[in-house]
């Protein structure tokens, strides 16, 4: 069984987000991490490796520095890394990104593709399903649980008010939620192997069935009008009750109003 996990190196937003004067993200000023949803997807793939001996390949697209995130994935247990990097691919929106990644995946063997639901820097949740569309694969998004059943996968898909159980024949694509699992740490020995592991690099010329009009900044229909840090939710309500009893009945009332209890 061959599993491909698409992962992205994103700015670590824990320490706050920094912008350039033109409104784009100042990536150089921020530490980078593996996108949390992607990390959960990788963990799911590594569990398939532990259980079924699956071969796990991680794929990322970005600047040459994005190889770091592939090395991290290999140090966690992935078998191979593929970096898609080329100047002409820069400035891609979700459409150009998914077109590019699909072009690279056409060169690789797979039974299952896992992507994160969305990246914490863009929060679009578009790239995974778009890749599936380009490749003509069924897609199951928001996976909370993944099981393999013969040549199919059974996935528990999260919904606002419950979940769906879905079965799809492989090859297919699954988008993972960070709640899917608790990703493992790297191991020291894994790190020593990862820094010496060969990373396969794909450029524009390696992409299969991809038109120039669909890649890079020129192939991106999305134009960013404005970018901002996360907007805080409402300020909330400040209540100063007279007694603990009053506080409890107020809270219980609110929880009932919202049908939480």
């Amino acid at each position: 069984m061959k599993v491909i996990v698409c992962i992205k190196q994103v700015p670590d937003t824990k320490g706050g987000v920094q912008f350039n004067p033109d409104g784009t993200l100042n990536r150089a000023a921020m530490l980078t991490i593996m996108n949390p949803d992607d990390k959960a997807g990788l963990e799911a793939a590594l569990r398939l490796k532990d259980q079924y001996g699956a071969e796990v390949t991680v794929v990322t697209m970005g600047l040459p520095k994005a190889a770091d995130v592939l090395q991290e994935a290999i140090a966690m247990g992935a078998d191979k890394g593929v970096l898609i990097t080329d100047r002409v691919l820069g400035g891609a929106d979700t459409w150009a990104t998914s077109t590019t990644i699909a072009g690279a995946l056409r060169k690789l063997d797979y039974d299952l593709i896992i992507t994160g639901r969305q990246a914490i820097d863009g929060d679009t949740a578009q790239v995974g399903p778009q890749i599936a569309e380009h490749l003509g694969l069924p897609v199951i998004s928001y996976a909370q649980e993944i099981k393999v059943d013969g040549d199919s996968v059974i996935v528990k898909r999260q919904y606002d008010d419950g979940y769906h159980m879905l079965k799809a024949k492989m090859p297919c694509l699954i988008t993972a939620l960070s709640e899917l699992n608790e990703p493992r740490y790297m191991t020291p020995g894994g790190i020593f192997d990862a820094v010496n592991a060969e990373i396969t690099t794909f450029g524009r010329a390696d992409l299969v069935d991809v038109d120039d009009s669909n890649i890079g900044l020129k192939g991106s229909p999305t134009k960013i009008a404005k970018a901002s840090d996360k907007v805080r939710k409402g300020a909330g309500e400040k209540v100063v009750p007279d007694s603990p009893d009053e506080a409890v009945s107020y809270i219980v009332g609110k929880l009932k109003d919202k049908h939480i209890i």
Binding site: Q71, E72, A75, R184, Y185, M186, P188, I191, F192, V195
Partner: protein, 388 residues
Amino acid sequence: MNFALDKKYEMAQNLFREFAQNEVKPLAQEIDENHRFPRETVEKMAKYGFLGIPVAKEDGGQGCDPLTYVMCVEELSKVCGTTGVIVSAHTSLCVDPIQTYGTPEQKAKYLPDLASGRKLGAFGLTEPGAGTDAQGQQTKAVLDGDEWVLNGSKCFITNGKEADVYIVIAVTGTVEKRGRKMKEISAFIVDKGTPGFTFGTKENKMGICGSSTYELIFTDCRIPKDALLGQKGKGFGIAMHTLDGGRIGIAAQALGIAEGALETTIAYVKERKQFGRSIAQFQNTQFVLADLATKVEAAKLLVYKAAMTKAQYQADHKTSYSVEAAMAKLYAAEVAMEVTTKCVQLHGGYGYIKEYDVERMMRDAKITEIYEGTSEVQRMVISANLLK
């Protein structure tokens, strides 16, 4: 000479730091208060290979080197001195001598279990009457047919009751050296559960309170003849060589404690306000922190150098790292004591309260000046090399 860390060390440091923050720090205060051995942390560390970092992959380890191991002990000790010493005593004092002196059979029997953390290791040299003076050993091993019979006791043994495999130093006879009768000392590997091997009292310590420190008692304890580690009569050298390595581990622990105290204090002085401004704005605070940070950096360079010198020894089996290890431990331990004491002072009254980490760190730091060779012993090792 290049002071920048290679990428693999940077990645390893990040790994250990993340693990320490997520898995170790949340328990540090509780295990200290309850004097509880953090078995769950040991299991997690085993899962991620932290108990076999400098062990070859073919022996079940991670195939890394002494510097990676030192970084692990350092990062763990930044948040919890107890967790740091569990790894250090296991790796330096039990795994290392088996790696260095074990027969192929002994290595095959013990290393995969120890390096994977399925089993935990400990080392018994100290006795009530034999601390710095290792020649004062009373524990005896007598060969009886195909078995050694051990009698005696060892005290202050780290990982005491929690370990599964013990390196035990014992007297196996007398030899004449320069016309004087000396004790012949040998090293043995003893499994937990061997009849005649029991535990005495648990020590109630000032610091590293989660660490399991016990007395080991041997009463007609029979172990197989092939449990002898290295050659008969070479036990003193094995013990001293093992402690050279152990000192690098303890130096890393001391370094970590000092760094942890400094980090915590830097955050504290920025928040704590007196006379209308943060105490970080007072020059006294600034100068104290500057001195402490400088000493911590110097300690780090000594500790890393000692680890790299040991790596050189592992490559050529010639380079001595005894002096480097002694200097690293002497300096890092004294820096740890000074840094933690001054960090408590910068915290004022809060530093004396158990709720604040520096209180624990100051208690944990003290032992680094004592075990695996006191600061005085390190000075003896260093000066003996200068004056030879």
